[in-house]
Amino acid sequence: MKDYNDIPGTYVFDITMSQKGYGLNKFCETLNREEGREQFLNNEDEYLKTFGMSEEQQEAVKKRDINKMLELGGNIYYVFKIAAVLGHSMQAVGAMMSEEGMTEKEFQQMMINGGRPIEGNRSKKENNNG
């Protein structure tokens, strides 16, 4: 296991993940252009088939399951473009990914309160021993 895989709740976008997620991120990159956004919004199922994505990756996009996309090699900067096209803010996305099933408002309040604390979120190993 790589040492950074001990960080809880975090998908480190390393070279292996980048290879795995290439098609998914390639799709996301097309959302930088109006024609890509139009295809995604009006013809999603067919459009998703054109990037060499796995069935599982296409399914994760259709379900708007961001953590699943990250797990399957999506990079947050790329995957966020899907959310942006659909009109979600980064804080709404933050809430969607939080395991507590947080609302956007609750996520915003957590940030106002100083953010998610590092204590208890530093290391899987530490958490299991503690």
Binding site: Y4, I7, S98
Partner: protein, 281 residues
């Protein structure tokens, strides 16, 4: 000769750009931020750099994962704001400085930094938000801009030490440019934030403060901090802090920190700002 007159570190939060563009930067949430960045705007007005070298990372906007680039420099006469998925920002186009870009690129390569040269480059929030923070909403940016980008998207990112040495090489290049111009260098991104996963929203103010103290006073130690430590302590996107090391490398060993401001939250980030000036040797 050209001279580096200051080094600035600032976060480059996209929401800040959006809120400035929409004239919505007021109210309780934004007041401390507006007040906190004013001294940086004053510093720019007083010191009037002719050129800003902005060290930033592209967020899948101009670049894709087709080719993954560790370090690059913009060579052109102008750089448009990039469409990142929601249209181009309504901010001025950046005017480049092709002769200085060429001089820096040549100097870097002869110094064994084989930098990628981009003759066409759209710049995303990583570059344009720091300009908005420093200059607000002018009809044109009051400085020329040289974009220097660092590949931060994929792990392993360039090591901190490499970034620091790139800064030193940029300094050498600027110092040998024969025009009498003043140059500021901006390191952008960070500090602690995590946008992704179940740990999204992570902030570590204590770590940021310690890291920034180190950047200012003992960069020779801070540059060697491991990526895993940064990912763990400052969040998965907090690793953008390595770009501040490029800026620090371009400054003297001894600097004076003339201003610092840190504030949580700005969107999902511990917003951080520092202004460094060289101490005369």
């Amino acid at each position: 000769m050209a001279k580096i007159i200051g080094g600035i570190g600032t976060s480059h939060i996209p929401t800040v750009g959006k809120v400035i563009d929409n004239d919505e930067m007021h109210g309780e949430y934004w007041e401390p931020f507006v007040k906190g960045i004013q001294p940086a705007r004053d510093w720019m007005k007083k010191n009037k750099p002719d050129v800003c070298i902005v060290v930033y990372n592209d967020h899948g906007s101009n670049f894709s994962l087709k080719d993954i680039i560790p370090f690059g420099i913009g060579m052109g006469e102008k750089f448009l704001p990039a469409d990142e998925g929601y249209g181009r920002r309504n901010v001025p186009t950046c005017e480049g400085y092709p002769t200085l870009s060429a001089h820096i690129a040549e100097s870097l390569i002869l110094d064994e930094f084989d930098i990628v040269m981009s003759n066409e480059l759209d710049v995303d929030h990583g570059l344009t938000v720091p300009l908005s923070i420093m200059y607000d909403q002018p009809t044109e940016w009051p400085c020329k801009v040289i974009p220097v980008y660092v590949g931060v998207v994929q792990y392993p990112q360039p090591r901190g030490n490499r970034c620091y040495n790139l800064g030193k090489a940029i300094r050498k290049a600027v110092d040998s440019f024969p025009e009498d111009i003043n140059v500021a260098i901006l390191g952008t991104g960070g500090l602690s934030h995590q946008l992704q996963g179940q740990r999204a929203g992570l902030i570590n103010q204590d770590y940021d403060k310690k890291w920034l103290d180190g950047l200012v006073n003992t960069p020779e130690i801070t540059k060697d901090i491991s990526h895993t430590e940064l990912l763990r302590e400052a969040g998965s996107e907090g690793i953008e802090a390595i770009m501040w090391l490029v800026m620090r490398g371009a400054m003297n060993q001894e600097v004076e920190e003339v201003y610092r401001f840190m504030h949580t939250p700005v969107s999902n980030t511990n917003y951080s700002l520092t202004i460094l000036e060289n101490k005369e040797k």
